[in-house]
Point group: C2
């Protein structure tokens, strides 16, 4: 089966290019025209249904009735901003903060992950008195001018800023345990060099900014103790640790609400976005009270839409659904089942170089017979899966890691369908 | 009547400070706890109603049923992103672009005015190959690191960046016509010096970034031809003109949908935000097709929530309500009536130094008997108006301009109530 655009979709695509430009990104070799979503299912304009194993924004499922009702009810009642007192934003901050560890104690709301990382960086620079930022050498944290100047994992016309240093996040997948210590030592030495370089150049160290699941990097798995060692060195240099929780947060990893838990650290800032309100534009920064107060004495930070009553209602509804549905535990269990199925599959298909991830975030590394990355085959698999009615994507520095992040309500029947379809498509060669 | 916080509101304020920090801004000497909104009315936790003459975000009135229905219906159907084809975002872009002038022809959607100005600046820098930015010397365009470094009208811990030059926007209010030409010459000479300074420092000129109604500046009114002369010089220096339409846009000025119209220019970029979707976090950049295509060839710009189906539905509903309600014409007429009433009031009260604005955006300059700015009295008036049940705020470099921006559905009865209450409160001294 080869998919082609219908005449109606072709006309829509032409209109779209005219008003949004030719470069606005679309998924798949043949774009998909989605008109409806419910739970883990999306439906296209011709009534075909697709199992959504990709979209992490619809975190508790597309059009979740409880989130939709919260948005509709609050929008019909009041939608202003945080310059008036309102119960919802306070309650939301309290519930959100109940999921994090001391000394993290205060929240600031904004609208996108970009805004969250911008605010965390501003506070880190103010607090440290330094400008330097350390990021992974294949990462993405947002689309503002400053974040573009530290983007290493996407095309950006801005050069890497002179105040940025990059780290290669070490990967231990498939590496024997006895070599992990050496990998750790080398990675920390690389960090020491980055810190020294920023200090020598006069920038100092304001922050480390990392995705705590390293998703853009391709779900690499550093040796145990890596982020603990990194955080200790960053802080010794006067900088702060910003954990970008946009990808791992809100229970996706199954073992905890936040990605930082698995690294044995508590960051100085957590930034969050996409899944936070199931698609409503809500994002946030959580930090220590003393950091926020120092910054607040010198800056008037206000975000017009951030933390407004509707945003707070949507965010609260997502927390409610996660708690009442036991979705953290569900994510852990379903994740283990799927991971086990992917492991079995890897033994049958030499094209699968490794299985990565946990909870409901998986990566399948696709390789050639000689073990080198096979981006072309990975792309073929993504497009063939779409033809077979299962939506996923790819990631990693070599574009050869299948990326799967279904809604937390993904169940065993979905898992079976995913595994069967993947088994068939990977087997096609 | 002196307002004090109820015990319940005091408790809410304590909880709020604990989780959002002590510096998260609140309006009024005694904060207001708003729980409901409808049209031009807000209601507090004790059931008291307030005439809202301030909130420009609820552009067509609080909880407008058509906008609420559009949000609720689309949220229940689908809320993904622009990487799938979807009719709504295309239709929204088409309708929005139908309100602007050639050569503006393409739209990009994001979530906040900050994001819109960030994107416009990134494109302007890429297109010009320069870094320098010229802004007004009392302005605010957003809360990111880059925009904080060009903020001149608010406390920001970041110093003004070395690639920024500032202009004093000349004011002609109360100045005899025969002196306008000299004011214009001097202001353009100031711009020439700013351009030369950026060029000498090696930054060149990427952009002028200005609010086309100069609201933070206190609704100052430059001489006729000012922005035309400025735009011509910016472009001659290789830079772009970014018109920040967050304040004047969507028909607020009554005479046109956009602030740039009154200046006889078409900017290279228009940025928009707050009123765009009546409170739903929607913002956008409109520019020329060639500028966007050049940028798109080198940058992968994607905004997860920007232009999603719910945002597009909310934005479309606002455009529908403006058109079907004849709100542009209504804004012009009601604005003229109010402006006339304010003019009468100014003749009765020597404390009113000048009346500013048009459409449904007004400023009343409050001065001492010697004509100097009276910030303390302005603040008293704002707080007294709140006690009398009318919400407004203040602006300007001397914090002495009463700021009034009601929803476009503000009617004559509201206007009468505003004028009567203001007349009484200003008269209290």
């Amino acid at each position: 089966m080869t998919v082609t655009l219908s005449a109606a979709d072709q006309a829509l695509l032409v209109r779209r290019r005219r008003v949004l430009g030719a470069h606005a990104p679309l998924f798949y070799d043949t774009p998909l025209h989605i008109v409806r979503g419910q739970g883990v299912w999306l439906e296209d304009a011709e009534g075909r249904r697709y199992l959504d194993v990709y979209n992490n924004v619809a975190h508790v499922g597309h059009a979740h009735p409880r989130v939709v009702a919260a948005i509709a009810e609050q929008a019909a009642t009041l939608n202003t901003h945080t310059r008036y007192l309102h119960e919802r934003v306070v309650e939301y901050a309290e519930q959100l903060l109940a999921t994090v560890d001391a000394p993290l104690s205060v929240a600031q709301f904004c609208c996108t992950g970009t805004e969250a990382n911008e605010l965390a960086l501003r506070m880190a620079r103010f607090g440290s008195g330094s400008q330097g930022v350390i990021v992974s050498d294949f990462s993405y944290h947002g689309n503002s001018a400053t974040l573009a100047a530290l983007t290493t994992g996407l095309p950006a016309p801005e050069s890497l800023a002179p105040w940025v240093r990059t780290l290669r996040i070490p990967d231990t997948v498939g590496v024997p345990q006895e070599r992990h210590a050496a990998i750790l030592d080398q990675a920390l030495a690389e960090l020491d060099a980055a810190i020294a370089s920023l200090q020598d150049a006069g920038y100092g160290v304001a922050a480390l900014l990392v995705d705590t699941i390293f998703s853009t990097e391709g779900l690499v798995e550093p040796p145990s103790g890596y982020l603990r060692g990194v955080a200790q060195r960053i802080r010794a240099a006067g900088g702060y640790v910003i954990g970008d929780e946009v990808q791992p947060g809100f229970g996706r990893m199954g073992d905890a609400m936040w990605g930082y838990h698995s690294h044995g650290i508590v960051p100085d800032f957590m930034t969050m976005g996409k899944p936070m309100a199931n698609g409503h534009p809500v994002a946030g920064v959580i930090t220590r009270g003393d950091i926020l107060e120092d910054f607040g004495e010198h800056a008037l930070y206000f975000n017009t839409f951030g933390g407004n009553p509707v945003s707070a209602a949507a965010g609260l509804a997502v927390l409610d659904v996660i708690r009442d549905g036991g979705l953290l535990e569900h994510s852990r269990m379903m994740g283990a089942n799927i991971r086990s199925g992917l492991g079995d599959m890897a033994r049958r298909h030499p094209a699968i170089g490794s299985v990565r991830g946990r909870g409901l975030f998986f990566g399948l590394e696709i390789v050639r017979p000689d073990g080198t990355p096979d981006a072309a085959r990975t792309r073929r698999i993504v497009n063939r899966m779409r033809e077979e009615g299962v939506l996923l994507s790819r990631t990693g520095r070599d574009d050869n890691v299948l990326k799967m992040r279904p809604a937390l309500v993904f169940d065993q029947a979905c898992a079976d369908l995913l595994l069967e379809t993947l088994d068939q498509v990977v087997g096609e060669g």
